[in-house]
């Protein structure tokens, strides 16, 4: 399969391939931030309806995967400001795929998913971007329009709250 950068730089209109490679990333980021499968689907649509037209803005610095992850995060945050739904995660935990049959890890995953749904969107967003998507605090701060120290503080508070909820849930 072509590299993502080849895809982007040489065939900007290959929507099918773009979708196949990057829709899972967009959906994952959107789902983690919005906690709503319906909203995450809308984010996927919003991103891919306009993505071919903005591919040229990727300047090659960093990975394309990281770039599209940030695009997904921005669109998710815009949506999140309008519709905050934390309950969806309690009823539609994403299906398990590719995991070994390890009931302890399944239980831990479900506990974490549920706890994520219980913390505030502001804290959850920083946690998702840092711990799951692997962004640095400077990138998160720029994305969210906050200071680096505020990003660190929110991560710290997110972990504290997650610990409390996960202990309650366990």
């Amino acid at each position: 399969m072509k590299g993502a950068d080849d895809l982007v730089l040489n065939e900007p209109d290959s929507l099918d391939e773009l979708y196949e490679r990057f829709a899972p990333i967009v959906f994952r980021v959107a789902l983690r931030i919005t906690q709503s499968p319906d909203e995450a689907e809308d984010v996927v649509q919003d991103v891919f309806l306009g993505l071919p037209e903005v591919l040229h803005t990727f300047d090659g610095r960093g990975s394309f995967t990281g770039w599209i992850g940030k695009v997904a995060a921005r669109v998710s945050l815009m949506r999140l400001r309008r519709v905050q739904r934390r309950r969806a995660v309690l009823t539609r935990v994403p299906p398990l795929r590719g995991f070994a049959d390890n009931s302890a890890s399944i239980e831990a995953r479900i506990t974490l998913e549920r706890a994520l749904g219980r913390i505030s969107a502001e804290l959850r967003t920083v946690f998702v971007l840092k711990e799951i998507e692997g962004l640095e605090h400077a990138e998160i701060a720029a994305l969210l329009g906050i200071s680096v120290s505020a990003s660190e503080t929110r991560l710290y508070r997110a972990r504290k709250q997650l610990r409390k909820y996960m202990e309650d849930l366990s």
Partner: protein, 719 residues
């Protein structure tokens, strides 16, 4: 005694972001401290579990997306981060455009739904009786192009509708047959009046027949609509179309000229629009005569239904005949003691007689409740109020939960009212938590899409969370208050919550978070100007890292975003106005292309209404881009001048007829309406602070040349 590292340091240790010296020191501590080791262990496990969360499979949306792109649809994808400086005005405008363009794209899909050329929905039979099978044929106009199935969503109103707002439900699935959609349902035996809308299976695109909805009235065997069907239609239309509500009452009287209920309703509508004392007097005389005729016909050996008896009580009260009121109450209680209105009358009388005996009162109301008969919401309301006044937390809790079954919003009002009482506060806080976990904040109305309803629920939830957070702060539980208020603030823009968060974060020593909320307070135009200046000074002094100006910029963006999400876009009828000198004009002529704040003011409302002083204060704080029009229906020019002289300094005051006011704004409760320069209603508020913020947001959006289209934006014509 062991000294433990700060917990933040333990987190940094787990992240591997400490320098060597501090890392060694913490390692030594961890070797002998189980507690801190558990913390570090948890964080490492958390990071690992987070990294190991599986990626859910992406939904199969490609063909839909490709189809929409093939149809020329595009979205604007944000490829850069929010403003970090530079030219604030243009960049904020760009940010607004980016944010709204995506929304507008989505809404652009839905605009055809709401701006539908007239679709048609036919019922067969079109005058059904209760229990009939009703066939449905729906022909969309330019909407639902690719759908195979649609949902007919309905709201059923039954006799003596006792709920605050009847729930809506999916009544039937409509399946495509060529260019039409077909389906059927059975009109339940108890249903008198029903309204309908058509939507897609996800509840995202909705055809409301230009907000008129479609409707069915249950009919009698003789072909007339049932009398109570008129009543339920009248009640339903009062919030949507005052003209049609009045026409309903008039039709009821024509169809049932000998029934007191019809006369009670038409009298109410006539009095609503009566503009002068002379008109009221002549109406009173007309109805006095009519009441006497009905009483003469119905008194004696005639057997009357519970409904007829109840309406005679109400008609007697309307014409202010106290002897007749007591006569008909006695008949109602004797001849229809189980009727819901009889129960209500007895309960109210019992309350009036025994309100100083809370134990006895609550026992009686409990007995009524346990009969299981339909009960008006007023009964649990009175019981809960009595329990609250008597400071009986358990009884208060019990009755609020019962009230919530039939009138959730009223239950919330009661709960919020008790938060200031230290004795009842813990119980009220428990009830708030129950309401939050219960999650029922009212059924989705037929005029709302599923996302809009979710947003309305989230706003409601945020309001309750804010109240709970404030109560926790009052109890001195600062950390819990901050956590709760953080959840509240994600859904709404509420300066009172920001203030509590600033105090809470400063108490907890988290200056950075406090400064973020200080910035939000500083940009809110609802704040008194001297307070805003004081906040700016504090922010500049305390703010760390990112500049204070940058924080203000971001806060302003957030304020605009939240406020725009509340915006509607409803066309309004032009209003005929008369100024104090008798000059005739209209609402749109006075607007002159500016943002308008229309304030309803009543000279007779007293302390419950907005005062001229408050209006003058608001007018002085409005941006020059906006103007205020004060409308009143119940004072003569001389009386108005007299009151303006006392208040000192006039806003522009105009006289308008009640009928015109009702037709345009569907109500006369003192409040503010904010219209954009194009004459569309954007916001309805009851607080000055909200009006100032809404006007400021509109000003920004107009200056940036953007389309104001919040989640509720519509562009459909009024009926």
């Amino acid at each position: 005694m062991i000294m433990h590292p700060r917990e933040r340091s333990l987190h940094r240790f787990a992240d591997g972001s400490l320098d060597v010296r501090r890392r060694r020191r913490i390692s030594r501590h961890l070797s002998r401290c189980v507690r801190c080791r558990a913390t570090v262990s948890f964080i490492r496990r958390l990071k690992e579990e987070a990294r190991g969360l599986p990626s859910p499979p992406a939904p199969d949306l490609l063909s839909g997306i490709a189809g929409r792109r093939a149809a020329g649809e595009r979205s604007i994808v944000p490829t850069s981060d929010p403003v970090a400086g530079g030219e604030p005005r243009l960049r904020i405008a760009a940010a607004i455009v980016l944010g709204l363009a995506i929304s507008a794209t989505t809404i652009g899909l839905l605009l055809p739904a709401w701006a539908a050329e007239r679709s048609t929905l036919r019922f067969d039979p079109d005058q059904p009786r209760q229990g009939d099978l009703v066939r449905v044929e729906y022909t969309p106009a330019g909407l639902f192009g690719s759908e195979d199935r649609l949902v007919l969503r309905g709201q059923f109103r039954t006799s003596h509708e006792l709920r605050e707002q009847p729930p809506t439900t999916a009544v039937a699935i409509l399946r495509r047959s060529g260019s039409r959609f077909l389906g059927s349902f059975t009109l339940p035996d108890s249903v008198l009046y029903a309204t309908f809308a058509v939507e897609d299976t996800g509840g995202r695109a909705i055809d409301t027949n230009a907000r008129r909805l479609w409707e069915i009235m249950a009919h009698a065997p003789d072909g007339r609509p049932l009398l109570e069907a008129f009543r339920q239609r009248d009640l339903d239309l009062q919030e949507r179309s005052w003209d049609r509500a009045r026409a309903t009452a008039e039709s009821a009287v024509k169809a049932y000229p000998d029934h007191p209920g019809a006369w009670v309703w038409v009298r109410s509508r006539q009095l609503d629009e009566a503009g002068t004392d002379a008109t009221v007097d002549s109406l009173d005389e007309l109805h006095r005569q009519r009441f006497d005729q009905l009483e003469a016909a119905l008194t004696g050996d005639t057997i009357l239904s519970g409904d007829e008896l109840a309406w005679m009580v109400w008609y007697a009260a309307g014409v202010r005949d106290s002897a007749a009121v007591q006569f008909w109450i006695n008949r109602l209680l004797a001849e229809a003691p189980g009727h819901v209105r009889a129960v209500q009358v007895k309960a109210v009388e019992f309350f009036a007689a025994h309100q100083d005996e809370p134990e006895r009162l609550l026992r009686e109301f409990d007995r009524i409740w346990r009969t299981g008969a339909p009960v008006h919401w007023q009964i649990p309301w009175l019981a809960a109020s009595a329990a609250g006044d008597a400071q009986q937390p358990e009884q208060f809790r019990r009755w609020v939960m019962r009230l919530a079954e039939v009138a959730g919003r009223r239950a919330d009002l009661l709960i919020l009212g008790q938060l200031n009482d230290p004795t009842l506060r813990p119980s009220a806080m428990d009830l708030l938590r129950w309401r939050l976990s219960d999650g029922r904040f009212g059924s989705r109305s037929l005029l709302q899409t599923a996302p809009e309803h979710a947003e309305a629920e989230d706003t409601e939830r945020a309001r309750l969370l804010a109240a709970l957070g404030a109560a926790l702060a009052a109890e001195g539980r600062v950390a819990a208050a901050v956590d709760t208020l953080e959840k509240a603030v994600t859904g709404v823009w509420d300066p009172r919550v920001f203030e509590l968060l600033v105090q809470g974060y400063l108490s907890l020593g988290d200056t950075a978070a406090a400064v973020d909320f200080l910035a939000r307070l500083a940009v809110d135009p609802g704040l008194p100007p001297d307070s805003a200046d004081a906040l700016r000074h504090i922010g500049e002094a305390v703010g760390a890292g990112v500049s204070w100006d940058h924080r203000l910029l971001n806060a302003r963006q957030q304020m605009v975003g939240y406020t725009l999400a509340e915006a509607v876009a409803e066309p309004v009828h032009d209003l005929r106005l008369r100024d104090l000198d008798g000059r005739r004009t209209t609402l749109f002529e006075e607007a002159a292309g500016r943002i308008q704040v229309v304030a309803l003011w009543s000279g007779y409302r007293g302390s419950t209404g907005v005062t001229l002083e408050a209006l003058a204060r608001l007018r002085n704080r409005l941006s020059p881009a906006a103007q205020m029009l004060v409308l009143t229906t119940d004072l003569t020019p001389d009386r108005i001048r007299e009151q303006l002289g006392v208040a000192g300094g006039p806003p522009s005051v105009f006289i308008v007829t009640r009928a015109d006011l009702l037709r345009t704004f569907h109500g006369m409760t003192p409040r503010y309406f904010v219209l954009d320069p194009h004459g569309r209603l954007r916001f309805t508020s009851s607080r000055e602070e909200d009006v100032l913020r809404q006007v400021e947001t509109l000003r920004w959006a107009e200056a940036a040349g953007t389309v104001v289209s919040g989640a509720k934006a519509r562009n459909e014509a009024n009926p």
